[in-house]
């Protein structure tokens, strides 16, 4: 028996005898996530974090103090009963743990991997507070992932109520759409999910790379939906193939959930953005992920730039995903250019850490002023300005201030712009009467209801850029409202 297993046995014994104290729990070392070696993974797209072993998971679970006021739960956007599921893991009751999570979150295998726990449940964790270090909080996300991977059996298909004869259209098959579809289907409505791409999953298949979220995990959730009787129609662009009005007046849908994501990449509006080799992160990631451009010439038909030197602009998760994808596509040098300091980066700490391990070089407090190119129209360099931090702005982060005369250039052949998305205009343009705010996002009330009867919306198209878990949360709220609306509707 190895050391960890011995420790676990001792702790369990102590617990059985009623002698396990918080001080014992504090002594359990935070469990390190097993992961693929940094050099090795530069050459493959396989998942980086490999997941806890069973012993690790139970040890980590025993670090939880089972606080009565459950601050972790307050930090969770969908209020998962975190203490309870962790206790179940500590006891080795994984199926129970999964059941508890699924009361509030439909996609634990996804959220366990991509949620920014360090600013949600783990930020408020008492254990982390005790050590004054959020990285020493109980690894709630890793435990969620462990239990989702371990306990999901073939019998995990939720029960569906008797058919109501009502029809629900869900537009977009991302995290919000999946939850809205599942919850309305469970209430017995006939549900159709419309997806514009040829594969369902939304940002989880086109955006988030395989090495962070394997496609097979997303596909499994889609399979569950189909087993529940949800119809999934790909290659269908609502607003173009059929409008929302047509779906409701001619195709017999009684309610609609719009979860189309943000999906209109922002550019910087600086000179040179039209040069060949300048990508939006959406385009770069879609080519690499969904279209499998990493296999170009070896099966896949979608090309992507063969880059040597890449600059990624931005400091969020999408920027990290782009930089790490560029590494895997064979770039020799990958730079991440961010106009604030590392402390302000919106990316998850783990992603920043992984990017550095993989050799991505950070240029913080720098921002491009223009992109330079040659006469054939190809990118050759970016001209940057140095920045310093000023007073906090409305986002609460320190405002970046350019330092005059600090221009310098970095030679690159590819620039990936990862500075966020605006609202896609397609649904707004083709849906008269749908109220939008000045940024083009759909306006909803507390129940995710839009200005149109029977039409609900959630996720990025409402919130602007958000997270998988927030989109899921809105999908759930909207589904509850739809179920109520349809129950009342004759």
């Amino acid at each position: 028996m190895d050391e960890d297993a011995k420790l676990l046995q001792q702790l369990l014994k102590k617990q059985k005898e009623g002698r396990l104290k918080p001080s014992d729990r504090y002594k359990i070392p935070p469990q390190a996530m097993p992961q693929q070696d940094g050099t090795e993974r530069r050459d493959n797209v396989n998942e980086v974090a490999l997941g806890f072993t069973e012993t690790q998971a139970r040890l980590e679970a025993m670090r939880c103090l089972q606080c009565r006021n459950a601050p972790c739960m307050q930090g969770c956007p969908v209020r998962i009963r975190i203490g309870d599921f962790i206790e179940a893991i500590a006891k080795g009751r994984y199926a129970d743990a999964l059941g508890i999570i699924k009361e509030n979150s439909l996609l634990p295998a996804v959220c366990g991997r991509v949620c920014p726990q360090e600013v949600q449940c783990q930020e408020t964790c008492t254990v982390g507070k005790k050590f004054k270090d959020v990285s020493k909080a109980v690894s709630i996300g890793r435990l969620e992932r462990f239990v989702a991977d371990r306990a999901a059996g073939p019998d995990a298909v939720p029960k569906v109520a008797p058919e109501t004869g009502k029809k629900v259209a869900v537009i977009g098959s991302g995290p919000g759409g999946i939850v809205a579809a599942s919850d309305t289907r469970r209430a017995g409505h006939a549900v159709t999910v419309f997806e514009a791409f040829h594969k369902p999953g939304g940002v989880m298949v086109y955006g988030i790379p395989e090495f962070r979220l394997p496609k097979a995990i997303v596909q499994k959730e889609i399979d569950v939906l189909e087993k529940m009787g949800v119809k999934i129609v790909c290659n269908f662009v609502v607003g173009r193939t059929r409008t929302i009005a047509q779906l409701m007046t001619q195709d017999g849908f009684d309610a609609v959930y719009i979860g189309v994501g943000a999906g209109l990449p922002r550019f910087m509006g600086i000179g040179g953005e039209q040069f060949v080799g300048v990508y939006s992160a959406n385009e770069y990631l879609t080519r690499a992920n969904l279209m499998k451009a990493y296999k170009f010439g070896a099966g896949a038909d979608t090309p992507i730039a063969k880059s040597k030197k890449v600059a990624v602009i931005g400091g969020g998760n999408v920027a990290m995903d782009s930089a790490r994808t560029a590494v895997r596509l064979g770039a020799e040098e990958v730079y991440l250019v961010y106009r604030r300091s590392e402390a302000e980066m919106p990316a998850r700490v783990e992603e920043v850490h992984h990017a550095k391990e993989e050799g991505v070089r950070f240029h913080i407090l720098r921002n491009p002023k223009r992109i330079l190119g040659n006469e054939d129209g190809y990118v050759t360099a970016i001209e940057c300005l140095k920045y310093k931090l000023g007073e906090p702005d409305e986002s609460g982060r320190c405002r970046p201030i350019p330092i005059e005369g600090s221009e310098f250039t970095i030679d690159v052949d590819t620039v990936i712009i990862a500075i966020g998305n605006g609202a896609n205009p397609l649904i707004g343009q083709t849906t008269p009467g749908l109220e939008l705010n000045k940024w083009g996002n759909i306006v909803v009330d507390d129940n995710c209801k839009t200005s149109l009867e029977g039409v609900y919306a959630g996720g990025d198209i409402v919130l602007g850029a958000a997270t998988v878990i927030l989109a899921m949360g809105q999908g759930r709220i909207a589904a509850a409202a739809i179920n109520e609306y349809l129950a009342a509707k004759k």
């Binding site: 040829h198 594969k199 662009v237 193939t241 209109l264 080519r287 170009f296 090309p303 054939d376 205009p425």
Partner: protein
């Protein structure tokens, strides 16, 4: 849903047309719109193609494409009964059709295909249609008969003079622009370089000119921005803001450069596909 090829033929050297089952698209499409097609869902490229026509009753759309890279070569090898896994659309904003008066429709090469439904639409609302069709050589000229049916005047030119008048489309365009009264609108669709020079001609005579751009795309719904062009100094997305733009405001030079982004890789893929086909031929 599989989209079967109902009929298919070769129109010219490297130019093919097919009627494809796509009932929803056939019903909702309007002139000027396009679809994204892909042969298989797993590894295929997504290719934007303008809808050249549709039969809503039969539930089919008509596509015309040129064999350029591997994917279009593979499409050229497809047979009646074969199916596309991906046909998404109709995408893009429809052409603004109204009675302008005299509309000059200029089509070059494969651009004649997307021009046809627009010319049709313009004719139907009572515009006088002057069509100018151009091709490099006689064998490459397509849809002459279709245009003859709807045009009040049809001018055909070939670069090498192998058929009708030896000229570039810009020559007759200029002649039409100096007529009194001036035409009210020019619609020019063809290779980027042709559209650029058409716009230079019409700018001199202040004739409003609409162009339809076919840039590189991935999703076709505004999500990737790969299709962006500079219009009036600002970045516009061809897929959601276009595909039609005021030709006098389009930066064609930048667009032409962007179109060549993957030329090397495309050629290599095409060559590899040819070799692969030859091997299959030998084995068989």
């Amino acid at each position: 849903m599989a989209h079967k090829i109902v009929s298919k033929k070769q129109l010219a050297e490297n130019v093919f047309t097919a009627e494809i089952e796509a009932p929803l698209v056939s019903r909702s499409r309007k002139p000027g719109q396009f679809v994204i097609v892909g042969i298989s869902g797993e590894y295929s490229e997504r290719i934007p193609l303008t809808i050249a026509g549709a039969d809503a009753e039969k539930g089919t759309i008509r596509l015309i494409w040129q064999r350029v890279g591997k994917s279009t070569a593979e499409m050229a090898d497809m047979k009646v009964g074969d199916a596309f896994e991906i046909v998404t659309g109709p995408l893009g904003r429809p052409t603004h059709i109204e009675k302008f008066g005299t509309v000059v429709c200029v089509g070059g090469g494969i651009g004649v295909a997307p021009l046809l439904p627009i010319a049709n639409g313009m004719a139907r609302v009572g515009n006088r249609i002057i069509s100018i069709l151009g091709a490099r050589t006689k064998e490459l000229l397509i849809l002459e008969e279709d245009f003859a049916g709807i045009s009040d005047e049809l001018i055909i030119v070939t670069d090498d003079g192998s058929y009708k008048r030896k000229a570039l489309v810009t020559e007759p365009l200029k002649e039409v622009c100096v007529r009194e009264p001036k035409p009210d609108l020019v619609v020019a669709i063809g290779p980027a370089i042709m559209m650029k020079f058409c716009c230079e001609v019409t700018r001199q005579y202040s004739v409003p000119t609409q162009v339809s751009l076919n840039t590189i795309m991935v999703d076709g719904t505004g999500m990737c921005g790969g299709c962006r062009v500079e219009v009036d100094g600002k970045a516009k997305f061809v897929c959601v803001d276009g595909p039609e733009f005021d030709g006098h405001k389009v930066n064609f030079d930048l667009m032409i450069k962007r179109l060549s982004a993957y030329k090397g890789q495309e050629q290599a893929a095409r060559e590899a596909y040819k070799k692969h086909k030859c091997k299959i031929g030998l084995d068989g």
